[in-house]
């Protein structure tokens, strides 16, 4: 299968010419770190006219995991449990420490690529408590749910999963002047189109589900601009080669069987109603928060840089932050947006023009 066909320069320039024919001032937000990666890595912003702004929203699950939840994982690690989580999570700052620092001081913190590995670690260490710090949006929550259903007794999940559509609603209610959304392609592969349609109805905001090649993003921008010009607001699916209208029903079924929505704070954002997941009472025996004696500690933002919140809301650019590239770098992140390769500051640091 060829992947370069969505990378074609001639088609890109044709789309850009169409985009340039729009004169209205427009602010489009995307809510996926991989979209930010595509835009910055390929220099797409430099090709767009000044009146069309594309800003990153809270689309990186690593960045929005609050310090208080990292603090909980650290507390459990200090009680002697094995902590397993995705690699990006190790350097996310808690209030006074991080999982990487705990590991350096002898804590048993292990990086996994899949929750399968976390379960395997639990099976191999039956005399130890093994905790999986489960983070991510709808793209990883079904997998955590699937593992919980077949987990051994010594396995539990510290659930930090979040849901995307309620966060989009919050941003629209917050008056950030968002004229359209590029919807995240792989979250949509799981949840389908209907959750976005509710947002369209309520806020009359054009949306396009987009893939992750340069042409996907450019086409999504053009489709949103067309909707704005025609004064329509609907959910269009540019990524139909992957995203089916109904989503992935098997994944949704297992996610809804094990998890239910709850309201927790996000790093840089307030408590968002119904935008987090917790284990249903039937699965509470695998809930780390119930199994361990935890003292809630710290707020959402820990010792972050002051700009994280406004960067996650698409109000500020990484360059607006005085720590960016100086005190705060991927090797030594101060704020969570610099940690993950999906974080806005990390992407700007690696590919952005401001660094040259």
């Amino acid at each position: 299968m060829r992947y370069d066909i969505f990378n074609d320069k001639t088609t890109a320039m044709r789309i850009i010419q169409k985009i340039r024919s729009f004169s209205q001032d427009v602010k489009i937000m995307h809510v996926c770190g991989t979209h930010e990666q595509t835009i910055t890595k390929n220099g797409l912003r430099a090709l767009l006219p000044e009146n069309v702004k594309v800003v990153p929203g809270p689309g990186c699950p690593v960045c929005i995991t609050p310090a208080s939840e990292i603090n909980s994982a650290i507390q459990i690690s200090r009680q002697g449990a094995i902590i397993t989580t995705y690699g990006d999570m190790l350097r996310v700052p808690g209030t006074t420490s991080s999982l990487a620092k705990e590991k350096a001081q002898g804590g048993d913190v292990r990086v996994v690529y899949s929750p399968f590995e976390a379960r395997e670690i639990a099976m191999r260490n039956p005399d130890k408590q093994v905790v999986f710090l489960g983070i991510g949006f709808e793209t990883t929550a079904p997998m955590t749910a699937h593992i919980i259903k077949t987990a051994p007794e010594n396995f539990s999940v510290l659930c930090s999963h979040r849901l995307v559509p309620p966060a989009m609603e919050l941003l629209l209610k917050g008056g950030y002047d968002i004229d359209g959304f590029i919807d995240p392609g792989h979250v949509s592969a799981i949840i389908g189109i209907s959750p976005y349609e509710k947002i369209c109805e309520e806020f009359h905001t054009p949306q396009v589900i987009a893939g992750f090649e340069p042409l996907d993003v450019l086409m999504a921008i053009l489709m949103i601009l067309k909707q704005i010009r025609n004064n329509t607001a609907k959910v269009e699916n540019e990524y139909w080669r992957v995203v089916k209208p109904e989503g992935n029903l098997q994944a949704l079924r297992v996610m809804n069987e094990v998890f239910e929505p709850c309201s927790k704070e996000w790093r840089g954002l307030p408590v968002i109603p119904g935008a987090s997941l917790k284990l249903r009472p039937e699965f509470s025996e695998f809930d780390t928060e119930k199994r361990f004696d935890l003292t809630p500690e710290g707020d959402a933002c820990g010792t972050d840089c002051p700009m994280c919140g406004s960067i996650l809301k698409g109000i500020s650019n990484p360059q607006d932050c005085e720590l960016f590239g100086k005190l705060c770098t991927p090797e030594n992140p101060v704020g969570a947006c610099m940690v993950s390769s999906e974080g806005t500051c990390n992407i700007e640091y690696r590919y952005g023009l401001s660094i040259i």
Binding site: T34, G87, Y113, T139, P142, H146, R241, V242, N248, A251
Partner: protein, 91 residues
């Protein structure tokens, strides 16, 4: 020959630090809920329990060790054709 050490079955080193990234791969073998996938030369196993109707030779998108969606080459080509028509119509 595929060496399947239990601890590395679901490990894909290139994306070890990036749980957000979905990686395309070709299905080369199916054993129940598990499939052996070819990521452009790197051979690994992944779960296909969240997809139905997966066949050997299909391309799938893999996210943290699970195939989440089938990639349809025909639909990809059709998308480009539609875009071309759309832009021609507007010219």
């Amino acid at each position: 020959m595929i060496i399947m050490m239990p601890s590395v079955i679901y490990t894909l080193p290139i994306v070890k630090n990036n749980m957000c990234l979905a990686v395309p791969a070709r299905v080369t073998q199916i054993n129940g809920d598990e499939a052996v996938l070819d990521y452009g030369g790197v051979i690994r196993k992944a779960s296909i329990s969240m997809l139905s109707d997966v066949n050997v030779g299909d391309y799938v998108l893999v996210h943290v060790g699970y195939a989440i969606s089938k990639l349809e080459e025909e639909e990809a080509l059709e998308t480009l054709k539609l875009w071309d028509e759309m832009m021609r119509a507007a010219e």
